[in-house]
């Protein structure tokens, strides 16, 4: 999702090219681990004390169908970013699916509130410029954990900045535009946290090292997104 960030693109570009992943040994590519662990501890406290209770309140107060409609609406307005990156990656079929979903859900789906496209068998997917950079062969860079934002290696951080420019709502100017943007980001974050509450609790309960667990989950999930859900069997280790 396109979010407002303060990182200058030039700085990230230099950082990105200066740091490269160390081959297949992902765990070794955490040169700032000590700092990352401290930032992670801060983020985990924020999550436990603010985000999780807010997500729980959101789940209790907002009825399920309304939450689903909000989720669908937010996913729908993210589709232009997905489409731009589908095309940049040469994924024309997926691009057509994205256009189809946007048109169907924006019209028949009443402004994106209903995911009619899914019922018609048009599958959903997301793309972002971080994934596009990966497809273009740009390495991830060192593992970085940012305050409030969590895991955000340089390639993904740079991608998020670029996605702001792919988002048509960036160019809309109307009264209280800033409040709308802040509201959109907030609801997206809370919605996602509410939807993942059970699995995150399960992961945290079973973690020997929660920081290392999240690092592994982030990287594997990201690679899965870059591979469009296909398992690259050659990347799997021998047992």
């Amino acid at each position: 999702m396109a979010t407002v960030r303060g990182f200058p693109l030039l700085f990230l570009g230099i950082w990105l090219t200066a740091c490269s992943t160390a081959g297949d040994d992902r765990a070794a590519n955490d040169p700032y681990e000590a700092t990352n662990r401290q930032v992670f501890a801060f983020d985990a406290k924020l999550d436990r004390n603010i985000l999780l209770p807010t997500a729980a309140f959101y789940t209790q107060v907002i009825p399920g169908p309304v939450r689903d409609s909000l989720h669908n609406f937010l996913a729908n307005i993210d589709l232009p970013v997905t489409f731009a990156n589908d095309i940049l990656q040469g994924e024309t079929k997926r691009g057509a699916q994205t256009v189809g979903r946007f048109v169907i859900n924006s019209t028949v789906g009443v402004g994106g509130l209903a995911d009619v496209a899914a019922k018609l068998g048009v599958p959903a997917h997301t793309e972002d410029f971080g994934q596009t950079l990966a497809v273009w062969g740009i390495p991830e860079g060192p593992y970085i954990v940012l305050p409030f934002l969590g895991p955000d290696p340089p390639r993904d951080a740079a991608g998020q900045v670029v996605d702001i420019f792919f988002d048509p709502t960036t160019y809309l100017r109307y009264k209280q535009h800033i409040w709308w943007s802040a509201g959109r980001v907030s609801v997206s974050v809370i919605d996602r946290r509410a939807r993942n509450a059970a699995i995150i609790q399960s992961i945290e309960r079973g973690s020997v090292d929660y920081y290392a667990s999240v690092r592994s989950l982030y990287r594997q999930h990201r690679q899965n997104e870059i591979n469009n859900g296909k398992t690259n069997t050659n990347d799997l280790p021998n047992f």
Partner: protein, 223 residues
């Protein structure tokens, strides 16, 4: 009617009937025969999900039955040794055996906790890929028949190996995240922070397992 016209007509009729038969055969989806690895996953994983969904069992019975089920389905020692990473080469046999025992109980608790989220749902095998001779990735989707909205089926892959004619599951991936790989990443990080002490890791696993059984707060939370 001339004989040749009748014969020609019969030939044309036979030809068109043949074309129709081919068209029907092509139109009807040919059921692809499931491979042995796919059959293994389909039959056994659905048993596991059904077991976790069985509200007629007490918690203790469910845990005991799930433990036996998981033990029969997997090669737990092999997975444990994989998750130990480089330390498997330097640890003593006693420490390794102690770790394997602790890992066994821990893995049962983790798998029970994570798979319980999908109990009552249906598994559909999509296809399989041979990564190497005897090493297969079986791709499945888990579908929630009671989903309120049009939820996308969950992508779950099983890595299955043929060990001397017997299939075993050695890893499971949910949305592209392989659990044994995640566990290895965690364990090697823990060992890095604890002077490579395998006994310390085994002890921590036993603590966590007890906490998971009790439904307690995780001790791995950062301060």
């Amino acid at each position: 009617m001339h004989l040749s016209e009748m014969t020609g007509g019969r030939i044309r009729g036979t030809f068109f009937l043949g074309l129709l038969a081919v068209a029907f055969a092509l139109a009807i989806p040919q059921a692809r025969a499931a491979s042995p690895a796919e059959n293994f996953v389909s039959v056994n994983v659905q048993k596991g999900l059904a077991l976790l969904y069985n509200h007629g069992l007490t918690q203790a019975d469910k845990q005991a039955q799930f433990r036996d089920f998981l033990t029969s389905l997997t090669d737990m020692r092999r997975i444990a040794l994989f998750t130990l990473g480089p330390a498997r080469r330097t640890a003593s046999p006693t420490d390794i055996n102690e770790f394997v025992d602790a890992f066994h109980e821990f893995a049962v608790a983790v798998y029970e906790s994570r798979l319980s989220l999908y109990s009552g749902q249906t598994l559909r095998v999509m296809n399989s890929t041979a990564r190497a001779p005897g090493d297969y990735i079986v791709s499945t989707r888990i579908i929630d028949p009671n989903a309120q909205n049009a939820q996308q089926p969950l992508q779950v892959d099983f890595r299955v190996e043929d060990e001397n004619g017997k299939f075993v599951v050695i890893d499971v991936s949910v949305l592209g995240i392989w659990l044994a790989i995640e566990e290895r990443d965690q364990f090697t990080a823990f060992l890095d922070q604890n002077s490579d002490s395998v006994p310390a890791l085994a002890s921590h696993l036993r603590q966590l397992t007890q906490q998971m059984h009790n439904g307690g707060a995780p001790s791995s939370q950062p301060d």
